[in-house]
């Protein structure tokens, strides 16, 4: 008995009994759909988080010295929170000391941010991120200008009221008009727009372009920062390797300045892109742990359904089995025929499930801010599971068929 014939037989059964076949395949179909869709979304999220979230929001080769970590996805205990709130903020002296003592070449920018309305010509944009920072922030955050210029060293030193605006804000306030040279008002003080940042896009549907960058010592500094302190010190090195070195140096220099004893915990935090991804990694790890269980449940149910369908097929085709045996089919021929048939059924279910899973992933991508990327290995796994479930489910019915007595089987109506 050749496999091709058995596969053909199975496909013929599916063709002639569409509805029954569909119901018999639904378990495997749902299991594989679920597998593909979840893996696609998680994979897509991974790519997205690494590419956009980590690199855009935090930056490559970049880290921030902060009072407390800023990306927390886990639960924080009351105790930890209190400890964080007792920590001293990062002050100018510490920042200056670091810049003076660091051996690794790096660029630095002090940074504070505040969410404030910005207005121009009677129009107001609410909830704009106002960043007060030093000029290197553009380089650190990879912000390319779409027109105009960044702050001059003089403007930065004097804390002049000049601003570089984000793309969305510019679009919203100026309605396509050139923002350069216009005066926008922040907290009642006019700022002259000297530059415009190229479009950054969005993350989970939230715009990354709704911001205004002003010199660190600009007037709004009084609102955004406590005097003499900063929210973050941004540090960027040449590459990932030197960033690792710089992280060590910063930690050491900070511990020296803050006179921390060995064994005492750091009372500051260093946020890297890697660190920002930690929360996400936890979530995706949980998803990947839960996924096999969920997929396994539907596959077991699907396998039982297929086993029942195959038992029915064996009962219905008892006479056919008798004929085949009379014509010289050996036990293993009959065994192989029904196992291959069962595997084919199940694989067809898996194939439909793969298509449905890919479809579902695309629907999710089209209708939500969640991204999706099809993982080739999940498709391979889907096919493998289809074959494996079908073969396993087919063993018992096929054994029953193979054991049938040809005389009895031929007598069956």
């Amino acid at each position: 008995m050749q496999i091709k014939d058995a596969v053909g037989e199975a496909l013929e059964t599916i063709r002639t009994q569409k509805l029954k076949s569909f119901f018999s395949l639904i378990g495997v179909l749902i299991g594989v759909t679920f597998l593909i869709a979840v893996v696609s979304i998680v994979q897509g999220m991974n790519v997205y988080m690494e590419d956009k979230f980590a690199n855009k929001l935090v930056g490559l080769n970049t880290f921030q010295l902060r009072r407390v970590p800023n990306f927390n996805m886990g639960n924080i205990s009351e105790e930890t929170w209190r400890e964080w709130m007792r920590r001293p903020r990062i002050n100018y002296a510490e920042a200056n000391y670091l810049q003076a003592k660091m051996a690794t070449p790096a660029i630095y920018s002090r940074y504070c941010s505040e969410n404030l309305p910005v207005s121009w010509n009677g129009k107001t944009a609410k909830g704009v991120d106002i960043w007060t920072a030093d000029a290197p922030i553009f380089q650190i955050k990879n912000l390319d200008l779409d027109g105009g210029r960044v702050f001059t060293p003089q403007e930065a030193r004097l804390g002049e009221a000049v601003a570089v605006v984000g793309w969305d804000l510019s679009d919203k306030l100026f309605k396509g008009a050139d923002p350069l040279g216009k005066n926008i008002a922040i907290e009642g003080i006019p700022y002259r727009v000297v530059g415009k940042v190229a479009k950054q896009g969005s993350l989970f549907g939230i715009s990354l372009d709704k911001f205004v960058i002003v010199p660190f010592d600009a007037p709004v500094h009084r609102v955004a920062c406590n005097l003499g302190f900063m929210d973050e010190l941004h540090i960027k090195t040449a590459d990932v390797a030197s960033m690792q070195v710089a992280l060590g140096e910063v930690e050491e220099l900070m511990r020296i300045q803050r006179r921390l004893k060995p064994g005492q915990e750091n009372n500051f935090a260093m946020q890297t892109a890697e660190g920002a991804l930690e929360g996400w990694k936890k979530i995706s790890a949980i998803l990947f742990t839960a996924l096999p269980g969920l997929v396994a449940i539907s596959l077991v149910v699907g396998g039982i359904v297929i086993m029942n369908i195959m038992l029915m097929a064996v009962a219905e085709r008892t006479r056919e089995i008798g004929i085949r045996k009379a014509l010289g089919a050996k036990r293993r021929d009959i065994l192989a025929q029904f196992i291959v048939e069962s595997a084919t059924l199940s694989t067809v279910g898996a194939a439909i499930g793969i298509l449905a899973g890919i479809g579902l992933a695309f629907v999710v991508r089209a209708t939500t801010p969640l991204p999706a990327a099809i993982a080739p290995w999940s498709v391979g796994l889907g096919v493998f599971l289809g074959v494996a479930v079908g073969m396993t489910a087919g063993v018992y019915p096929a054994t029953r068929a193979a054991k049938l007595d040809p005389i009895e089987a031929l007598r069956q109506e």
């Binding site: 004929i323 009379a326 014509l327 089919a329 050996k330 005389i407």
Partner: protein, 234 residues
Amino acid sequence: MSDLVIHLRDLSRAYVMGAETVQALRGVTLEIRRNEYVAIMGPSGSGKSTLMNLIGCLDTPTGGEYWLNGQEVSRMADDALARVRNREIGFVFQTFNLLPRATARQNVELPLVYGGISARQRRQRAEAALQRVGLGDRMDHRPNELSGGQRQRVAIARALVNNPAILLADEPTGNLDSATSEEIMRVFATLHAQGQTVIMVTHEADIAAHAARIVVLRDGRIASDLPNRSGAAA
């Protein structure tokens, strides 16, 4: 004796039914030579079905010996018997027993599939066998598109496709009208004339009359074994 195709020596078959043992066959000794045309007759319960199943290697005896084409098949295991059925025996059944979803050609190819013959050769040999029974123009028809006589001819083509030692027919005309029965008997006569060994189990005297030798069973024993002058010449 090289032309001895079937040699049964004191063959018996008992069935255990609960506490009772039923002797369906009580010691049958029979020799059938190459190119004989034998009809096995008997009333129901005489053991002719049991004998046919034993000759067809679908069943194994509980006593005695069965030699088919020089091999002792009475002691063979399942898979060996399957191989013998495939190579040495061509079955023709009362109810045709064609696979309903397969075409005539696919039905005829089936024994070759289990014989491990390549797809191209299978096709050639199946087509040749169908032509031999006069169905060269019906190869792609399914059984439900064929008449009873045509179905039985497909079954005969399937029985012949592996060049078996014996053609074993079980009431081959039981489901056919008399005109079609005659047509099938003519096919058998032609095959016999071409050298085929034919064994036919029937309870109809006019069908048995086509054979050259008639064996009558009664109560699990051979009651008579006589040449039939009116039948086909041997």
